[in-house]
C-alpha cells in the first residue's frame, strides 16, 4: 500500500534525499492509512471478497459438501427458465408495487400532520415513530397473532365490523395473506418515511409558503404548487429507499405466511434462502443473488444520482 504514496515533486525529492525518509508529511499519511486499515480489512473480508465470490460461485455447481465443478453460465440459463424463481420475482414486484404508494401516501399525510411547532406535535411524532424501532421479526410475530383466525384481536374486530366470520382465515388465500402482511409493514414502516419527509418539509423556508398564501393561494394550492415541488428531492429519495427495501423483503413473509398458501407468497430473497440453505445448492443460489444484485445496484445507482442532485440544489 505504501507504494501508492505519491512521489514528491523532484525539487523536494533531492532535498529529501539528505533528510530522513520519514518526513512529517509521510508520517501523517502513514498514520492515516493505519487508522483506515482495520475498517478496510473487515470490509475486504466480509464484503468485497463475498461480492466477488458471488459471481465466481454462480459459475459453478457448488453443493455445501463435496466437490464443486465449473458449469459456466448454466445456472443463469436455468434461472431464466425456472418457474419458481420467476414466480418469486413477479410476487416481489407485485408486493413492491402494492406497498410503495400506500406507505408513501400514509407517510406524507402524517408528515404534513405533525409539521407544526409545539409540544403536542413532537409527542405525536414520537408515538408515530415507535413501531419503527421494533424489529421486523417481533412485529411480524405480533401481527401473526393479531390476524389469527378466531383467536386474533384483529379478526375479532373484523367480525364486529361485519368484515368476516370467526372462521375466515386471512392466510388462506394469496391475496388476503399479502394484504395482511402489507398492513403490518405499513404499521411498522410509515414512521420511518414520515421522519424523512418531515425533515424535507422543515427545510422549506416558511417565507415561501407564506408568500404563496399572501398571493391568494389556498392551503391545498400552496401545498400543491410550492411545497411539493420543493420536496421533490426528498420524495425521490424516500421512494428509492422504499423500493429497495421492498425488493429485499424476507422476514415478514418467512414468519407470517411461510411462503404459503401453496408457495404463492415466496419473495426473491426467500427463494434464494430456500435454494442456498434448504436445498444447499449454493452455486445456483449465488446466481440468483447475482441477478438480484444487478437490480439492486441499478436502484442504488439511481439513489446516488438523486443524492448528488440534492447536494447541489
Amino acid at each position: 500500500m505504501t507504494a501508492t504514496l505519491t512521489p514528491a515533486p523532484s525539487a523536494a525529492a533531492t532535498q529529501r534525499r539528505k533528510g530522513p525518509w520519514l518526513t512529517q508529511r509521510r508520517r501523517r499519511q502513514l498514520v492515516g492509512l493505519a487508522l483506515v486499515s482495520p475498517a478496510l480489512l473487515v470490509v475486504l473480508v466480509f464484503f468485497l471478497i463475498p461480492l466477488g465470490m458471488t459471481f465466481w460461485m454462480s459459475l459453478h455447481d457448488w453443493p455445501l459438501l463435496g466437490e464443486h465443478s465449473w458449469v459456466g453460465l448454466d445456472n443463469y440459463r436455468q434461472a431464466v427458465q425456472d418457474q419458481t424463481w420467476i414466480d418469486s420475482v413477479i410476487f416481489t414486484l407485485k408486493y413492491t408495487v402494492f406497498i410503495t404508494p400506500l406507505l408513501f401516501v400514509a407517510a406524507l399525510a402524517l408528515a404534513v400532520l405533525i409539521n407544526r411547532p409545539g409540544r403536542p406535535a413532537r409527542v405525536f411524532q414520537t408515538i408515530f415513530f415507535l413501531p419503527v424501532v421494533i424489529g421486523f421479526a417481533a412485529a411480524a410475530y405480533l401481527w401473526l397473532y393479531l390476524a389469527q383466525p378466531g383467536l386474533g384481536p384483529l379478526t375479532d374486530l373484523a367480525v364486529h365490523l361485519g368484515l368476516g366470520t370467526r372462521e375466515s382465515n386471512w392466510f388462506a388465500t394469496s391475496t388476503s395473506a399479502l394484504v395482511t402482511v402489507v398492513l403490518m409493514v405499513v404499521w411498522k414502516m410509515t414512521g420511518m418515511q414520515m421522519i424523512l419527509l418531515l425533515s424535507g418539509l422543515q427545510s422549506i423556508p416558511v417565507e415561501l409558503t407564506e408568500a404563496a398564501r399572501i398571493d391568494g393561494a389556498g392551503p391545498w394550492q400552496s401545498f400543491r404548487h410550492v411545497t411539493l415541488p420543493l420536496l421533490r428531492p426528498t420524495l425521490a429519495l424516500v421512494l428509492v429507499f422504499s423500493v429497495a427495501g421492498s425488493l429485499l423483503a424476507f422476514d415478514q413473509f418467512f414468519i407470517m405466511t411461510s411462503g404459503g398458501p401453496s408457495n404463492t407468497t415466496i419473495t426473491a430473497v426467500y427463494q434464494i434462502y430456500r435454494t442456498s440453505f434448504i436445498n444447499f445448492d449454493l452455486g445456483y443460489g449465488a446466481a440468483l443473488s447475482a441477478l438480484l444484485m444487478v437490480v439492486l445496484a441499478a436502484v442504488s445507482a439511481l439513489q446516488m444520482l438523486l443524492l448528488r442532485k440534492t447536494d447541489h440544489s
Partner: protein
C-alpha cells in the same frame, strides 16, 4: 359573527387533535395487545374471542419463557446482548479510526477507498449471504456469535464511517494543530481533543448499530444453526414451533415483548440522537 370566527379558529385545531389521536390509537393498539396478551394467564390467553385486557394479571408467560426451548430465554437475551454490544463496540472503534483518517489524514488513494467503503451501501448483505456463509465456514466462524458480530459490523461500517467522517470534517484543523503543538501525538490529539466534539455522531452510530444488530433476523437465521446460540428474533421461531399442538400465544407475545421493549425504552431515552442520525444519514 364572533361565533363563526371562533368555529373557524377552533375547528381545524380540533380536527388536528382528532386525526393525531386516531392515528395514535392505530399505532399503539398492536403494542397494547402485545403487552396485555403476554400478561394473561394461560387459560385466558387462548380464549376465543380474545379479551381486551388481562382479567387476572399473571407473570406465567414470562416465567414459562425461562424453560421453553432448549436453553431458556436468558441465554438468548445474553446472545442478543453480546451480538448487539459486540457489533456496536467494534463499529464505533473502527468507524472512529477510519472516519478520522478519511477526514483529517488524507493519503493518496483515500478518496477512492472512501468511495469503495460507501459502495457497501449499495449492496445489502441479503444479496451476498451465500458466499458469506461459505467464508465464515472457511474461517471456522460459522455458527458463532463472533461471526455474526463481524458480519453486522461490516454492514454498519459504511454508515458509521460516513457519519464520523462528516463529524470530524466539520471541525477546524486549527484545533488539532493546537493539540499537536502542545505535544500531543496524532492519536491522543484525536482521542482527547477531537473525539469529545464528535460525540453526537458517535451516539447516532452506536444507536443504529445496536438497533440493527438486536433486531436483525435474516443473517442470524442463516448463519447460526445451533439453537443455544440463537439471538432473540430467531428464538421467536422456536417459541412459535416448539410447543406441540396448539401454539401458546401468551408465551409468544411475552417473547415478542422481551425482544421489543428494550428497543422502545432505548429509543424513548435517546430519540434525539436517533432521529438526527437518521436524517443526517439519509438526506446528506
Amino acid at each position: 359573527m364572533n361565533t363563526l370566527l371562533d368555529v373557524r379558529r377552533t375547528l381545524p385545531r380540533a380536527a388536528w387533535w382528532a386525526a393525531c389521536l386516531s392515528v395514535s390509537v392505530i399505532v399503539l393498539y398492536p403494542l397494547w395487545i402485545m403487552l396485555s396478551q403476554s400478561l394473561k394467564s394461560t387459560s385466558e390467553a387462548t380464549r376465543n374471542p380474545p379479551t381486551l385486557y388481562p382479567h387476572d394479571l399473571s407473570p406465567d408467560n414470562y416465567q414459562a419463557l425461562g424453560n421453553t426451548g432448549a436453553v431458556g430465554i436468558w441465554t438468548h437475551v445474553g446472545n442478543s446482548l453480546f451480538v448487539a454490544f459486540g457489533a456496536t463496540f467494534l463499529t464505533i472503534v473502527l468507524a472512529t479510526l477510519a472516519g478520522y483518517g478519511f477526514a483529517k489524514m488524507r493519503f493518496v488513494g483515500s478518496g477512492l477507498l472512501f468511495f469503495l467503503i460507501l459502495a457497501t451501501f449499495m449492496i445489502p448483505f441479503q444479496a451476498i449471504i451465500t458466499p458469506l456463509f461459505s467464508i465464515l465456514h472457511t474461517l471456522g466462524l460459522n455458527n458463532t456469535l463472533i461471526g455474526l458480530v463481524l458480519v453486522y459490523t461490516t454492514f454498519q461500517l459504511p454508515f458509521g464511517i460516513f457519519l464520523m467522517r462528516n463529524s470530524f470534517a466539520a471541525l477546524p484543523a486549527s484545533i488539532e494543530e493546537a493539540a499537536l503543538i502542545d505535544g500531543c501525538g496524532y492519536l491522543s490529539a484525536m482521542i482527547r481533543v477531537m473525539l469529545p466534539v464528535a460525540v453526537p455522531g458517535l451516539i447516532s452510530t452506536a444507536l443504529f448499530t445496536f438497533f440493527t444488530s438486536w433486531n436483525e433476523f435474516f443473517a442470524a437465521l442463516v448463519l447460526i444453526t445451533d439453537e443455544a446460540k440463537f439471538t432473540l428474533p430467531v428464538t421467536l421461531t422456536v417459541l412459535a414451533s416448539n410447543q406441540l399442538g396448539a401454539l401458546n400465544w401468551g408465551i409468544m407475545q411475552a417473547g415478542v415483548a422481551v425482544t421489543a421493549i428494550p428497543c422502545i425504552v432505548l429509543y424513548l431515552v435517546l430519540q434525539r440522537y436517533y432521529v438526527a442520525g437518521l436524517v443526517a444519514g439519509a438526506v446528506k
